[in-house]
Amino acid sequence: MTSLPASAAPCSCACSCEPSETEMFARLDEVISEYREKPGGLIPALQTAQSVFGYLPETVIRRIAEGFGKTVSEVAGVVTFYSFFTLHPRGKYLVRVCLGTACYVRGGKDVLDAFKKKLQIEVGETTPDRQFSLEVGRCFGACGMAPVVMVNDTVYQRVKPARVGEMVNQIVAGAVVAASEKEHT
């Protein structure tokens, strides 16, 4: 999903529409009580929270900080340290271009530039139609296939800058599972 639904009323139908804010916060409280006592539980709690909300808004970070007995500055510090976490809503498709060492030397930077040009956005930004967000990855553990690009959970290997335009068209046409579809299953 790309943004918080305006309505706070719980979804009572059995359809596949997005969960309401109330439902998401109820899930968040479950996540907090599941992880709060576990050593190193903050990171998995943040990961789960991000998958529920699509990003980590300030209200969620505050709730997690309170639940974990940590300061907001510390939790925000952890969130901003890891490139996986985002404070802003992301697009339907999150494009992460790896710039780890192997990908970098095999042209990851050129691939990134091609995405910037095609999508007309900078790293960390989302297209105005909320379709694509662009991020830099720091190694996905697939160095043998460098340069690697991940779009949501789909890995693209040995990406050539010239292929980026075609890739984007394929993604829009359904080659990748969209974020909102994945989270609700």
Binding site: I61, T71, E74, A76, G77
Partner: protein, 589 residues
């Protein structure tokens, strides 16, 4: 014990010691810009690299534990070259406008570069995008000077239990600051300034009032009076080369007179006044509880320390009714100067300017609280830290060490020894006990040399109990009561005490809280660098100042007595209520 060789010397050190501790034990100095006494090694600055025999690479002395038979070379050519390169790299990112920096006089990075003989910076590093946060009245943050050592983070979260600061972001883009790159005024920062006290460079400093104070002094239409907090006299000398713990009360008064203040007065005077108001308030609360059997907020907490007030307003609103309604001595002084003193000298309150010299940055915030005024006239106009006063003295070309000892002016300059000890952790409580016990029993507090030793010193939370016997008739409801008191300093200790009280209730009647470790002598506005050795020396100086006086109890102060007979009436009276008392409110985090 472990056998270690540092350079050519062999020594034995306790297991678990770090190389840095071992070296210090034998008087070898290894530079560090991030290490903090009694705190786990931060290991961020990398300035303490040393050579360890058998190790593949240089080791950070602060975070490497020694092992049996370890051979360390602290100042080998390789270690010196590496440390120098670390400093050069820090300098390459650092906004090094030293001549215009507040810290040019006591910057640890500048001193280290000089010590290492760094004459040029061979790297052209990227510089952080400058952002100046001057959102609070107390502090200014400049991230282009920050070297990301994280001392402020450690002190804010571990020592003060506040946690307003944390590294945000990653790598070169890291900013040490509040969440979501907010400014300090937008978060639950108590403005105690302990961050500014430990910062090795000029990245966090107090917001200066020096220009405004000069302007007021130089305005012939204004009558500018100055008050100095008890803690200044035990620390100001450090800015002029005196050993920590040197008392400079007389020279300080002489310097203030030469700076051009029209009245050289003492916050100590209103510390004595505070004891009368706050002591009466405590006895009144006890009477309400014990005689009238009415619900009343006990234990009562002291209210002198503005960082503590902020802390309670942010984090422990349930205890706000327990905090004494007394304004702090700083604010009482302003209120008295602009009413009683103004009348005495025939000046309008608005023609009087009150300047405070405080060991504290939160006092700058306190002076600006909207309620700290009477009839639209601010109680206190400008607050200088101890460090700022030293700068003014230097700027005025005053040879501080050559000054004679001079007294404070009347009528707001006379004080008891009980007022002096407001500077130390446990001091406000001891001062209150000296007076309250004597009011209730007619006899002197029955402890050696008037010191309640159980609540003195640097333990984090201290307590004492005192059984009251032989009461005067009007206080006989206190006969046989065991008065229980507690003292905490450092907000981390205070948080633990309050959490304990929340969970288990309080056996105490009265609790003293001081924001900073050691009390005001360790305040965020004091000369750098304050460690426990310095704290103890300043504490000792304050106790000897107290003991040097004949008058050691607040209620004996004749000028305070005169203030009541001529002007205020009685403690907690109508005028006191209006001028000397205040209220608190819950602040959202």
């Amino acid at each position: 014990m472990l056998n270690v060789t540092v350079n050519t010397q062999k020594i034995q050190v306790p297991e678990g010691s770090t190389i840095l501790q071992a070296a210090r034990q034998m008087g070898v100095s290894i530079p560090t810009l991030c290490n903090l006494e009694k705190r786990e090694a931060i290991g961020a600055c990398r300035v303490c690299l040393v050579e360890v025999e058998g190790a593949r690479i240089l080791q950070a002395a602060c975070s490497t534990p020694v092992h049996e038979g370890m051979v360390v070379r602290t100042h080998s050519a390789q270690a010196r070259a590496a440390r120098r390169q670390v400093v050069e790299m820090l300098l390459s990112e650092h906004d090094g406008n030293c001549p215009t920096c507040d810290r040019s006089g006591d910057c640890e990075l500048r001193a280290l570069a000089e010590e290492m003989g760094v004459s040029q910076v061979p790297f052209e590093g990227m510089r952080a995008k400058p952002h100046i946060d001057d959102s609070t009245p107390a502090l200014v943050r400049d991230n282009s000077k920050c070297i990301k050592c994280r001392r402020c983070v450690t002190v804010c979260s571990e020592v003060q239990g506040v946690g307003a600061l944390f590294p945000q972001g990653r790598g070169f883009q890291t900013v040490i600051g509040p969440a979501f790159t907010r400014d300090l005024a937008e978060v639950a920062c108590v403005q105690c300034g302990q961050c500014a006290a430990v910062c090795p460079v000029g990245a966090i400093v107090e917001k200066s009032c020096i220009p405004q104070v000069w302007k007021a002094i130089e305005n012939p239409h204004l009558h500018v009076v100055v008050q100095t907090a008890p803690a200044i006299r035990a620390a100001l000398g450090e800015c002029f080369g005196y050993e920590p713990g040197t008392r400079v009360t007389g020279k300080m008064a002489a310097a203030l007179r030469r700076l051009g203040f029209d009245g050289v007065f003492d916050t100590n005077f209103t510390a004595d006044l505070t004891i009368l108001e706050e002591g009466t308030e405590l006895l009144t609360r006890l009477k309400t509880a014990l005689v009238d059997k009415q619900p009343v907020a006990l234990p009562m907490f002291t209210s002198c320390s503005p960082g503590w007030i902020n802390f309670a307003e942010f984090y422990f609103p349930q205890f706000l009714p327990n905090i004494s309604t007394c304004k702090s001595p700083q604010q009482m002084f302003g209120a008295v100067a602009k009413s009683y003193y103004a009348q005495k000298i025939g000046r309008k309150p608005e023609e009087i300017v009150v300047v405070s010299v405080m060991p504290c940055t939160a006092k700058k915030f306190e002076a600006q609280r909207p309620e700290m005024e009477s009839h639209g006239v601010r109680d206190v106009d400008y607050v200088l830290t101890t460090r700022e006063l030293a700068k003014m003295i230097k700027e005025a070309g005053i040879d501080f060490r050559a000054l004679p000892d001079e007294p404070m002016d009347a009528p707001l300059g006379l004080s008891s020894g009980a007022a002096d000890i407001f500077a130390n952790t446990g001091g406000v409580m001891e001062a209150a006990l000296r007076t309250a016990y004597e009011i209730v029993t007619g006899r002197e507090l029955p402890v050696a040399n008037l010191h309640v030793s159980a609540i003195a010193g640097l333990a984090g939370v201290k307590e004492a109990a005192l059984t009251i016997t032989g009461t005067k008739p009007e206080w006989n409801f206190l006969e046989g009561v065991e008065l229980k008191v507690a003292v905490s300093h450092g907000l981390g200790n205070t948080r633990r005490l309050l959490e304990h009280i929340k969970a288990h209730g309080s056996p105490y009647h009265f609790i003293e809280v001081m924001t900073c470790p050691g009390g005001c002598i360790g305040g965020g506005g004091q000369p750098r660098f304050t460690d426990d050795a310095v704290r103890l020396k300043r504490i000792g100086a304050i106790y000897s100042e107290d003991e040097s006086k004949k008058m050691r109890k607040s209620h004996e102060n004749p000028d305070v007595q005169k203030l009541y007979t001529e002007f205020l009436g009685k403690p907690l009276g109508e005028k006191s209520h209006h001028l000397l008392h205040t209220k608190y409110a819950h602040k959202a985090k």
